[in-house]
């Protein structure tokens, strides 16, 4: 068994060396851990719960039946398309590296930065959600008043804690993620079982779940429904984590590909079950949509205030795990991009701690960037307190658009490279879709374009403006410096075998 593992590790190392990279990170994750990191970031208890009120407000109860399933259908196609690429090009840069070698180094550079913007949004969005939930709980426990400022402080402390765990090592984080996956499933089972057996009132008939035409917003239903899709679409983000941790996964060409795909598929199933029973427990949808937290409101009405508090704590812990995993993913992406010198002060972020085998400096950069984004939003709202959007909607919209555009670029480039005869059947990894690949890629791209537009229409236009502003900054950076100086992952191919072995020896000797 041990011999088989060592053989596999050698093969994985050789596969990575083919791309010019040394095995610097600790390769210790199994298939379940790879699945668990993406499943924890998707976190049905984070996205679907914290934006439950958003979905209900705009799309009514039908959002949970139709909205969730419709989004899941297309996300399954996107995940399958990404799994194929992860299997063919198994490096931690993932989206960025795929775009760079399927298109060009500049495609790669833009993909990396767009992915980075989305990742900042997702880390900030998740840990901000955690703080929004945890701060009132802690305020009542310790007798202080929860305000936007205390939420921001708690957000900073949470980021610090996540930074420390990630710094210490992938083994600890992987164990916590494994636990997190079972924890998510366990909470859904407890929640659904309680609603079935202990609800204070009868469940709504099943057709309530698919009832369309009722919105509690001031928008026409069709538009409102599309805005409400943010709930599901934000939930289904971050599954690229399985690809970003690919250099830490044993037999990654198969396991990381399955990790991406199964994390989405199982999140769809468990998320649907949870949303269905919570929605069928609604007694008064209008009141729920107006509540501060619609999800907790529905649970409290159905199972009592005490049970509502328990669920609140359970959900809050799930968000904590989700934030932890998202920082792991983001830091690996930064590390991979920095080793190809795509960032300012790249050599710092590409440095691996010889003690912990983690990209320690990249982890702390992630913490700073995520805090800065939430702080920016806090300042904007302090200057203009009458603003109608919420911080969470801003952060989630930024992350959805950033991540999905970054998911879409390599898919487009793969289709282009195939049509030019550059990317051929022999280049596919073990996990591929054969003849189904092209139509699945095309449908994925259509959905990405559609959803990216939907996520920045009012009331989320601020996210659109922020993304446009960030794109201009990228354009300036590119034209001013990187256009001439960024060599891309192709430059790593120039590393000699001796150089790669020398880099790897540093970690064996430590």
């Amino acid at each position: 068994m041990q011999q088989e593992k060592e053989q596999q590790l050698l093969e994985d190392q050789r596969d990575l060396n083919k791309f010019g990279y040394a095995q610097e990170l600790l390769r210790d994750m199994g298939g379940f851990s790879n699945f668990a990191i993406s499943f924890s970031i998707i976190s049905i208890l984070t996205g679907a719960v914290s934006l439950y009120g958003h979905g209900l407000l705009y799309g009514g109860s039908g959002m949970m039946g139709f909205g969730w399933t419709l989004v899941a259908l297309f996300v399954i196609l996107i995940a399958a398309s990404m799994s194929e690429l992860a299997s063919a090009i198994p490096t931690a840069g993932a989206l960025y590296h795929w775009a760079a070698i399927l298109g060009s180094k500049r495609w790669g550079w833009y993909t990396a930065w767009i992915n980075l913007i989305g990742q900042i949004g997702i880390v900030a969005g998740i840990d901000y959600s955690f703080s929004l939930f945890a701060d009132p709980l802690l305020a009542s426990a310790f007798g202080y008043t929860s305000t936007e400022k205390t939420t921001l402080i708690l957000f900073g402390i949470t980021l610090l804690l996540h930074g420390m765990f990630n710094h210490i090592g992938i083994r600890l984080v992987a164990r916590l993620n494994d636990f997190s996956a079972w924890y998510h499933i366990g909470v859904v089972v407890i929640l659904v079982g309680s609603l079935i057996f202990f609800s204070r009132h009868d469940l709504q008939p099943l057709d309530y779940l698919f009832q369309v035409g009722q919105t509690f917003s001031d928008k026409p239903y069709a538009i409102a429904f599309l805005i409400g899709l943010l709930q599901a679409q934000w939930t289904f983000t971050g599954y690229d984590a399985s690809a970003h941790t690919i250099e830490e996964t044993i037999n990654p060409r198969v396991r990381a590909a399955w990790g991406i795909y199964t994390s989405v598929a199982f999140s769809f199933i468990f998320g649907f079950i949870m949303l269905a029973f919570v929605t069928l427990s609604i007694k008064n949808a209008a009141a729920a949509s107006e509540a501060e937290n619609a999800f907790i409101y529905v649970i409290s009405k159905a199972l009592g205030g005490a049970f509502g508090s328990v669920v609140l704590w359970l959900v809050t812990f799930a968000m904590w795990f989700c934030g932890l995993a998202s920082i792991t993913s983001f830091s690996r992406m930064l590390y991979a991009f920095s080793r190809d010198k795509g960032m300012p002060w790249s050599h710092q972020w590409a440095e691996i701690s010889t003690k912990y085998r983690t990209p320690a400096k990249a982890i702390w950069l992630v913490i700073i960037l995520s805090f800065a984004l939430a702080l920016f939003d806090y300042i904007v709202k302090s200057i203009n307190p009458n603003t109608s959007y919420t911080t969470l909607a801003f952060l989630t919209a930024v992350s959805v658009v950033g991540l999905y555009v970054a998911y879409g670029i390599p898919l487009y480039l793969k289709l282009r490279a195939e049509s030019r005869g550059l990317f051929q059947r022999k280049h596919y990894g073990p996990w591929h879709l054969g003849n189904w690949s092209k139509p699945i890629n095309v449908l994925s791209l259509i959905w990405i374009v559609f959803i990216s537009i939907m996520m920045v229409i009012p009331p989320n236009q601020t996210a659109g403006y922020a993304l446009i502003a960030m794109f201009f900054v990228l354009l300036i950076m590119d034209l001013a410096y990187y256009r001439k100086h960024f060599k891309g992952p192709q430059a790593a191919l120039g590393n000699s075998e001796e150089e790669i072995k020398r880099q790897e020896a540093r970690f064996r000797d430590s």
């Binding site: 259908l73 090009i89 198969v254 996990w431």
Partner: protein, 47 residues
């Protein structure tokens, strides 16, 4: 709408299973000797 919703749900589950089945087949039939790592186009590598 209930019927439509259930059809959509079953269709999505069907698509997920079909893709999973297709991918599993490809993993089982994978021939390492016929595989070649994709490292980008020659022009891009030289550029």
């Amino acid at each position: 709408m209930l019927a439509l919703g259930i059809i959509l749900l079953l269709f999505t589950i069907g698509v997920a299973i079909a893709i999973g089945y297709r991918a599993n087949e490809s993993v089982r039939q994978f021939d390492e000797s016929a595989h070649e790592s994709f490292i980008g186009s020659q022009a891009e590598r030289e550029g």
